[in-house]
Symmetry: C2
Subunit: 202 residues, 2 copies
DNA sequence: CGTACTTTTGAATCGCATCAAATCTGGTGG
DNA sequence: CCACCAGATTTGATGCGATTCAAAAGTACG
């Protein structure tokens, strides 16, 4: 649809909101927000990678969302406080939109709120796919599901590394490495240019 | 917030939309819609239980969502076709809202679209929790997570049975039975009245 | 060159899926 | 009222696959 993430943002937001946006460079390791904090901005990822995470019940952080493009934590639009951390895991370019102006625009501009609802619908569907994926028991099944549903004709960017992918898939990085290796050996998969590519079915 | 699901619906929808709603009784086994079909209505579950499911890659159906109250498949609002099945798994009372009127109301009534966005935000958060839950590896951890996040102070309705719960948790029913039994024996859990109850920490 | 991190390989263990079967349950019809 | 059936529930045994712990090799960066 859009070759460029910024185009997408411009198509979504009304013009007067765009003027209030600030583009920031967020190096890996930056914390955009932490749990409990009051949201003042919405973050739109242009390039790079950001994860939403929560300290897990047993200690290990759980990744709730991994975003390489698009809004992060849309759900916090009307929340008085964040319920998770926003952590930058790869050098990123991010557009910051003041949340108050955004809320006002949503209240007055019906065309905009329609587009916003469309975006949320997309996110809901994406999350349902992720749930479906996580309910698969085998690593290979999850990886195939990821490549088939999120990849562009079977090509999926590795992004911030296999470890980060493993987290998103809900498996250990060792298991994912072994799975990728086995599938490469089978010829079901190739790796290169920072992409995983499904081999076309013969 | 609302003791009654219908109150919730009335608070959400504008009055003129309520008049277009039809309440239907859907016995267990009813299929509300199937994949590929064009959405003409939105379904609001008043009582009972409905699941969104998709035929899994390996055959076994995958449960994407289990709703006992509230809108089902909100994400299909603007979709030309459903991407999953809506299956009634317990005798249910359901309100059917014509999707066209709903769309028109969202386009013109900003207060309503604001409430709709709030609802979608809640759904996004719920789905993220589900992802978090499914990324836990042990059955007991998933069950605890479910009771802690979705239960009312640790009490969670079993609803349409353990098998249905097992599907939602992404585990086999045998594993869940065994887990519940073990936790009951430990005194961490009690069962009764169709509820699972977490024992208060001593 | 050293440090920190990712990637990779190895081996042991454990929990869950799987298959099988018995029991229990509610509902139906004779 | 009982026989019967379909489904849910429960228990048992087995094997696989992922986790886990450990450690080596590779890589980026100052």
């Amino acid at each position: 649809m859009f070759t460029n993430a910024l185009q997408e943002l411009h198509a979504l937001l009304p013009k007067h909101l765009i003027d209030t946006c600030v583009e920031i460079a967020a190096p890996k390791g930056t914390c955009l927000f932490t749990s409990g904090e009051k949201p003042t901005h919405m973050f739109f990822i242009v390039t790079g990678e950001v994860v939403l995470e929560r300290p897990g019940l047993q200690g290990a952080p759980v990744i709730l969302q991994r975003t390489r493009r698009g809004f992060m934590s849309e759900a916090s639009l009307k929340s008085p406080s964040y319920h998770c951390h926003g952590q930058v895991v790869a050098d990123s370019k991010i557009v910051r939109v003041p949340i108050r102006a955004l809320r006002e625009a949503l209240d007055t501009d019906t065309a905009f709120s329609g587009r916003w609802i469309t975006m949320l619908n997309k996110e809901v569907r994406r999350l349902r796919l992720q749930c479906e994926r996580l309910s698969l028991t085998k690593v290979q099944a999850r990886l195939l599901h990821l490549l088939e549903t999120e990849g562009e004709s079977g090509a999926y960017p590795i992004g911030a590394g296999i470890k980060s992918m493993a987290g998103e898939l809900g498996v250990t990085h060792e298991a994912l490495y072994r799975c990728i290796y086995a599938m490469e050996k089978d010829g079901a998969l190739t790796r290169g240019d920072g992409f995983l590519r499904l081999s076309p079915r013969v």
